[in-house]
């Protein structure tokens, strides 16, 4: 869908000629002429204006009544007056009305000092009120949720929060109750407003009616400093601004970036900052002495780590978690490849993809961007749940569907929250992404070949059956993609390419992509949702067993994470280096990894919290920086290289991690000559051909998409298909048992478990079942069950969901206790009541 490219028109505001894009709302366009029109309810991010607050009334020549500037698009030759007596009178009237029921407890109110109502009253208000009657009273303050406090007396009923809930996050929880002057914002049934994006209403509120519980009364605007950086919570990499007072982060605000986050944050990103300052955090290097981790001096920890790694030599392996920056990743592979001669470095959770497939999946010609989702003709969400895996995408897709009529197709095994917005939905068996792609490819080919081609027809049925999906639904989905137009974006989860058959799945995906999205066409292509925050960046800086920095070939090829675990469990690996990753928590195959950690002589970890695996098995733990302390760069899934800037000082003995790795490298005889964070970035930009020429200054606060730079020519060329593929294996037949699918919810994260404000969202294992399966097994909603397979088992609570395909059960991974990764492969599990 072509993006709107409006003509520039000229209009006058207060006698000043101003040029603005046609169709821009007057309230925005006047700003181009340095004329400010006060607004309360108008917020362009919320979509269509509602004109409720009446603050922006202006006089337009030729129209007898005053008009709302927020809802009047500018036209050529329009003459607008914002300073006439009539306008002033109306503005003063509206402010007098608004302040009638506003308590004016500004000294107590958290918004005081950064309050639009306060500012506008000073700027445009009448100065005094003639109102002497009692004000409207409500009970206050009340908890709208454990995260948000609501003060209804302060509310000016601008509808912003309600519109956010209804039209942006589409959780439909907030409503206005009652009528007239008695109206108040509430959830429909009075339940707490708990939703993935609820915190955004705090930032939207133009008065102090909605305030953040964790930030409540912590600081005033003149006590604090703002510091921009990027959130490392998920691959969305939203741009944030930390509010800092006395070297503590007190609040996280959005730093709107239309190319990344559109100005919204999820609650995990907004409130997770509390984890930076909790007592559980590791702030000193630890070394295991007599079975216990004790704090030691840096020199001792580094010496011991160097000795351990030096002794292990190539019998060592390293894993990097998603929160690793490009610099740390690059230094890590230098340490292992350069200093130790060990090729065993990996950043992917499961399985190895050939280098050419990495190159094909992320080829600049096939790369879609985040804003493309908003303007595409069709979007296919494949094997991922945006709200859990990369929350900002969820809002972006909803925006595209709601405002621009994007046709949405959803294909996943677990029911998605986007199903209701989708034009076509396909459910397939857990892990059958490859078979689904093949079926979809067949269905797309069928429509290319015209209907009634009998031989092809049978193929689609066969493949759909292998995927455990309905062939008609696959065809309907194919039709949505084929008929929409040329701009088709496929958003796929990295997990599609995980596992032993990940390679085939990636090829099947490229086949589908080749049918619907033309290579090199702007606004169409692939967009990956990586499993880790900086998944893409780590692959590009060479944290892969089969690729050096810049996806250059490497020899010999090292062990991928799963093989590394198996190899360590067999005793072949002496030292494991875990950079921001705890295999027991973050990787599949807990049993193997437990054995591996137990067997390895040395387990060296960088961590901010001692999760289970590290607490029990780590021999040396270096304290990790929180992401408000980090310096470096990360790469967004759409290729945008973004810069992290430290907002607060590192507490206690915490040292910069690039420094720790570089130090180790030097101690092991491989001096990488990195003396500062900026030097580390410069080395990374030098080492990677397609980052060539980047500088930190150029990245600035907004980042840069490297695929859009000339240096992108340095990306390795690769065959993007179509590929001839063997028939994918049939999804396992349940046959009395259930197929196991796993997911990682938005709340399955360390910061949720430690941040006091988010603790109430801590996830406990639940087994999502179809009601028919539950009935067959005699289970009801809320029952406790044991899910077992091959002798491994986890405890869970039954949750019935009619969207879950029959014959499947979904368990949560990535949680602290009873994680689904405990279950031993095979794909089939038994569910039995406790």
């Amino acid at each position: 869908m072509p993006r709107p490219a409006p003509d520039t028109i000229a209009f006058t505001v207060d006698g000043l000629e101003v040029n603005a894009p046609a169709g821009m709302m007057l309230a925005d366009a006047a700003k181009l002429g340095d004329v400010e029109i006060p607004v309360f309810c108008y917020e362009p991010k919320l979509g269509e204006p509602v004109g409720a607050c009446r603050m922006c009334l202006v006089e337009i020549e030729g129209i007898p009544k005053l008009q709302t500037a927020c809802s009047t698009p500018v036209r050529d030759g329009m003459a607008v007056n914002t300073q006439t007596a009539r306008v002033k009178e109306a503005q003063e009237a509206v402010l007098e009305f608004l302040l009638i029921n506003h308590p004016l407890d500004c000294p107590v109110c958290d918004k005081g000092g950064e309050c639009p109502l306060q500012d506008i009253t000073y700027g445009w208000g009448p100065g005094r009120s003639r109102f002497i009657e009692p004000k409207r009273h409500f009970v206050k303050p009340l908890a709208l949720s454990p995260l948000i406090a609501i003060d209804r007396e302060r509310c000016i009923l601008c509808y912003r929060c309600v519109r956010f809930s209804q039209e942006i996050s589409e959780d439909y929880q907030l409503v206005l109750q009652e009528r007239g002057a008695d109206s108040y914002v509430s959830t429909f049934d009075g339940h707490p407003y708990v939703a993935p994006f609820s915190g955004n209403i705090i930032e939207l509120c133009p008065v102090g009616a909605l305030t953040s519980q964790p930030y409540r009364f912590r600081a005033r605007p003149w006590d604090i400093e703002g510091s921009g950086s990027v959130c490392l919570g998920c691959p969305g990499q939203c741009n944030v601004e930390y509010t800092v007072r006395d070297e503590r982060v007190l609040r996280v605000l959005s730093r709107q970036h239309d190319g990344v986050d559109d100005g919204w944050l999820c609650d995990r990103g907004r409130f997770g900052y509390q984890s930076f300052h909790v007592d559980e955090r590791v702030t000193h290097p630890l070394v295991r002495v007599d079975g216990e981790l004790i704090p030691v001096a840096w020199d001792r920890a580094l010496d011991e780590a160097a000795a351990a790694l030096g002794g292990a030599g190539s019998d060592s392996g390293a894993l990097a978690g998603g929160k690793t920056t490009n610099e740390e990743g690059w230094l890590l592979q230098e340490l292992f490849r350069g200093a130790l001669g060990s090729p065993n470095v990996d950043s992917r959770a499961d399985g190895m993809l050939p280098r050419e497939l990495h190159a094909a999946l992320h080829a600049p010609a096939l790369q879609a961007t985040v804003p493309d989702l908003e303007f595409a003709h069709a979007v296919l969400v494949l094997d991922c749940e945006p709200v859990d895996d990369q929350p900002s995408l969820d809002l972006r897709i909803r925006k595209g569907v709601r405002r621009n009529g994007v046709k949405l197709a959803v294909a996943s095994s677990r029911p998605s929250s986007l199903d209701a917005n989708a034009a076509a939905v396909v459910r397939y068996a857990p892990g059958a992404g490859e078979a689904f792609c093949a079926a979809l490819n067949g269905a797309l080919g069928e429509s290319d070949a015209g209907p009634g081609s009998a031989t092809r027809k049978g193929v689609v049925e066969e493949l759909a059956e292998a995927a455990g999906a309905d062939a008609d639904a696959v065809r309907a989905l194919a039709a949505v993609l084929a008929d929409a137009g040329e701009d088709v974006v496929i958003v796929y989860g990295e997990r599609l390419t995980h596992g032993a058959r990940g390679e085939d799945a990636a090829r099947a995906l490229l086949n589908v992509c080749g049918r619907v999205a033309e290579a090199g066409h702007d606004g169409a292509g692939l967009l990956e949702v990586p499993a880790g925050t900086n998944g893409r960046g780590l692959r590009e800086v060479g944290v892969l067993p089969n690729a050096a920095p810049g996806l250059a070939p490497v020899s010999p090829v090292g062990l991928a994470s799963a093989e590394l675990g198996a190899s360590a469990a067999a005793g072949a690996i002496s030292a494991l280096y875990l950079l921001h990753v705890d295999p027991l928590r973050d990787l599949p195959g807990r049993a193997t990894w437990r054995a591996a950690l137990q067997r390895a002589d040395h387990v060296i970890a960088h961590a901010d919290f001692l999760s289970e695996g590290l607490w029990e098995y780590a021999t040396i733990v270096f304290p990790a920086e929180s992401y408000a302390e980090k310096e470096g760069t990360i790469t967004h899934p759409d290729g945008r290289v973004q810069r992290l800037r430290p907002a607060i000082a590192r507490p206690d003995a915490v040292r910069a991690e690039w420094n720790v790795i570089a130090d180790l490298s030097k101690r092991l005889g491989h001096d990488v000559s990195v003396l500062s964070g900026a030097m580390a970035s410069a080395r990374v930009f030098e080492a990677i051909p397609f980052y060539a020429g980047l500088t930190l200054d150029e990245l600035g606060g907004r980042g840069l998409r490297w695929p859009a730079r000339p240096a992108a020519a340095g990306w390795p060329a690769a065959d993007t298909g179509p590929f001839g593929l063997e028939t994918p294996p049939h999804a396992p037949t349940p046959n009395g048992a259930l197929r196991l699918g796993t997911f990682r919810s938005i709340w399955a994260a360390q910061e949720v478990e430690v941040a006091p404000a988010l603790k109430f969202l801590r996830q406990r294992q639940r087994a999502e079942l179809h009601p028919v399966d539950a009935e067959r097994m005699g289970l009801a909603h809320g029952d406790r069950v044991t899910v077992g397979s091959n002798g491994s088992r986890v405890q869970a609570t039954v949750v019935l969901r009619s969207g879950v395909p029959e014959g499947s059960v979904f368990l949560e991974a990535g949680i602290a206790e009873e994680s689904a990764s405990e279950l031993d492969g095979g794909g089939l599990v038994e569910v039995s009541p406790q």
């Binding site: 009305f97 608004l98 029921n101 407890d105 009253t121 002057a181 109206s183």
Partner: protein, 441 residues
Amino acid sequence: MTGPTILFEDIDERGLNTIDVYRRRGGYESLRKVLTTMQPSEVVDELMASGLRGRGGAGFPSGRKISFIPKVDVDKYLVCNADESEPGTFKDRELMQKSPHMLIEGIVIGAFAAGATKSFIYIRGEYVEQADIIDAAIVEAREAGFLGENILGSGFGLTLHLHRGAGAYICGEETGLLDSLEGKRGNPRLKPPFPANQGLYQGPTVINNVETLATMPHIIKMGGAEYAKIGTETSAGTKLVSVSGNVQRPGNYEIELGISSREIIYGLAGGPPEGRAVKMWFPGGSSSPVLTGDDLDIAYDFNTLAQAKSMLGSGAIIVVDDSVPVVSVALKLAKFYKHESCGKCTPCREGTRWTVSMLERVDQGLATPMDLDIMASVQEQIIGNCLCVLGDAMAMPIGSMVAKFRDEFEAHIEAARARNPWAGEGPPDPDPVLVQGASGA
């Protein structure tokens, strides 16, 4: 004389609400004529020629309203606004109760002219009996082939649904009605876009009052030019007026537009009780600025009333005689509008509440004549600054009452102050702490 009767000609005939009696009286003949001999544009022309103006309140020419509907191939809608909630108005109730088929016939004609294929009647929740009658009439009409697919073999099809409101005045505002019909909270929408372009479910929509639609069959029957001869040049036709208040014979009367108001109030409704005089009267429902006893001789039509700085509105005349204090009328009225304000836009939400509390103070003797100036100024601040006309609907009559009966307001204040021992101290504030924190405005 009050001129010809059109809508009420057979209104009191027993059983007119059944299709048999209605057809015997010539019902559905206009529809047959429209569907078998006319093009939609001809119907619109006929309506334009008739000079028919909307009977709901705003008085917009009905033919032009239909002609605004874009001629594009999308689902179009016709909505009949039967949410007759304006205090003093009860003409549609009688029409729907006694002659529902006249309305249905009008709806089909209107829908044909607009090219709408789906139509709705939004009836206020309190009209339970009328809703039942219309429901029954819709079934009859559908069975007789006047609704549904391919009406009278013309190829034109129309569905008609009756939707019962839940008792909100604001749902009589056309866009609030559409939101309510869509299942949302009944709040007015921002205009533009106007319903003719984006109305119900974002489709082009015609919204007409019951009386307007019920008049359409008669215009077709008589011919637009003939209809235009009734009434005055700018206010053609007859009008149902609901007369209520201090009169001897309250009720609905059909009058020819342009007759003198005195003739309606004294002639038809019998005037105020013996020994009383008209103090003021609302010419077009409670939201029209009041006129005084001196204005009784002006002609009752759209333009003359507008010149008198009032309006014909829904044609509901409320007469107030000299036994009633103006403050109690104003307070009653303001309380109604405060209760019915939807709360979406600021001036209406806060202005109605403020006006009520000021009037209460006036009534209790806690006010001074200066408060009357504030009250008048608040009404001016509301008028024209709101999202819809509800705010204006309170501000205009209250403003006109304060202007025209200021002496009585002041006398009331004096008398009440003398009675009230608390006078002069102002109302007690319930929360001293917050007042202490108050600064500036």
